[in-house]
Symmetry: C2
Subunit: 317 residues, 2 copies
């Protein structure tokens, strides 16, 4: 059942002995929302703990706080978890037993008994902030740091479309009322990369090919190239966005060779091109600015197909 | 004479036929403030134009607007110009003739008759916004885009310490009241780089050396290396900040060989190290997080001196 902010606040008043579930590949928003909620429940005199299917990376350590130790759950809340799949190894235990979900994903699958979702909110932390306001409970500095980090994370530090007026209003209030080391948080969240990651990104930029007067780039990650770059495929996470850094690029295409003659393709649009339309025509799909498909053929055949498809889309702009 | 926001508003009411001067190496803040002010003066029924000592780069073209054509100046306003030196080839004409300066640099040299400086403001655009509020003149969408771009530019898209509560409040208001293509602006300002720049950054990362367990990095730009990288020294603008991207780096040191045996050094601190103290001990100076000095000797002597100096500072942390 979908519920409003005020009803979610009511649920938090009523609940006892709470397990808070956050998603796998934990990020600043789910860790921030999870631990802000835990501290809120502590302030309300309740026992609570955060459960994550994977260890929380050290860079989010500053958001965590001591939990209430061992106790059996009477109430389970999913936070920033749009789909049960994202619960990883926690899924089998909690499927069908999630009492409340606090989220901002339009794709939320309503797996919880009560679901408080605001798809216009920049982050789950923004939804939680509104619930805390409805409760009238003052934030601590530590909760404020959690809420700030969630909003900053999901808006790309206020860079994306979802950095709405409301998101800025909340952050203004957090900065006015709390001692927030936000410049340090931003640096750790957005500027710092491991040396290995920086080297990998460099290697990827090195093999980037340019088509259609530089409006289309292609990165072809063959098994050979993976061996040459000495990286695991998992480490290539997020490289599809790299070509969009280059001035003049409208569509960035990344090919990954899954087996000889079979390629998985990720496409990203810088601005106006609709890559969902391009990938749709090639049997795939996705969002307007991020989509994918799979193609069979030789590398040169596949590249030819992709360049022609991108060319057609660019002709529409 | 230093004046307050209300007095600056009064100056704008009184003035006629205005030349607005912005600084060399124009950026989003001076271009945004310059053209927002020009449009404000137009809305007040006055003639105005923006003068820049250098051509305004194409990426800031969306901030510009048609001026009032040719007319002789009766009033001259410097915007975001802390020092006459920043006026480049406009200096000789306007030195001693600047009636008003609107700025946010604590280092403003008071070269204008009246100076409205708020060092706590994130950007000159923020100071101008407060003046416009005092005047009670409504912003147009185009002026709002100028003010937004200035604040976003100077705060590193809300990443730095100067992204204050007030800066967020203003941006929230601009986003609520105007059609602002902010995601597109942010992408063009903060994500996109020329291919040449990306290649140069890659080459620089390639020659980076690590000292003191990776807490100190050094980039040694010798004349030999410049020739090898095939870049002009001017293109190396801003590379001193690159090492701070690397996880674990506390101090980034960049050496530039000016002539055989003579090096200019830039130092940047990621967070806690005081590079002003380090450079001060070596005969230089600067800010806590960005400082410089000059050293003579062989490359290996100079590197040894620098590593020892950084080591001493890190031992204090």
């Amino acid at each position: 059942m979908r519920i409003e902010i005020a009803q979610a606040a009511e649920c938090l008043k009523q609940c006892e002995d709470v397990y808070i579930l956050i998603h796998q590949s934990p990020d600043g928003d789910c860790v921030g929302a999870g631990f802000a909620l835990m501290q809120l429940l502590h302030a309300m005199g309740k026992r609570a703990k955060v459960l994550c299917p994977e260890p929380i990376p050290a860079r989010y350590g500053f958001l965590t706080a001591p939990d209430s130790g061992e106790f059996p759950a009477k109430y389970v809340i999913g936070v920033d978890v749009a789909d049960l799949q994202l619960l990883g190894n926690l899924r089998s235990t909690y499927e069908g037993h999630v009492d409340l979900c606090i989220d901002h994903h339009i794709s939320n699958t309503d797996y919880a008994d009560r679901v408080c979702v605001d798809p216009d909110a920049s982050a789950a932390c923004q939804v939680l902030y509104e619930i805390i306001q409805a409760l009238g409970i003052p934030l601590t500095d530590s909760m404020a740091a959690c809420i700030y980090t969630g909003i900053a994370t999901d808006t790309g530090c206020f860079k994306y479309e979802n950095a709405t007026a409301r998101a800025h209003e909340i952050v203004a209030k957090l900065k006015r009322e709390h001692a927030l080391p936000y410049a340090r948080i931003n640096r750790n969240m957005f500027d710092v990369k491991s040396l290995g990651r920086l080297k990998m990104e460099r290697a990827v930029m090195e093999i980037m090919e340019f088509y259609l007067d530089g409006r289309c780039t292609m990165i072809c990650v063959t098994q050979d190239i993976l061996r040459q770059m000495q990286v695991e495929e998992a480490e290539l996470d997020g490289i599809a966005g790299l070509p969009l850094q280059v001035e003049g690029v409208e569509v960035g295409v990344t090919l990954k060779e899954k087996e000889p003659g079979f390629y998985k393709i990720s496409m990203r649009s810088a601005d106006r091109a609709n890559v969902s339309r391009i990938c749709g025509q090639l049997g795939g799909g996705g969002h307007v600015k991020a989509a994918g498909c799979a193609l069979r053929g030789t590398l040169s055949q596949v590249k030819e197909i992709l360049v022609r498809a991108v060319e057609q889309e660019l002709a529409l702009l």
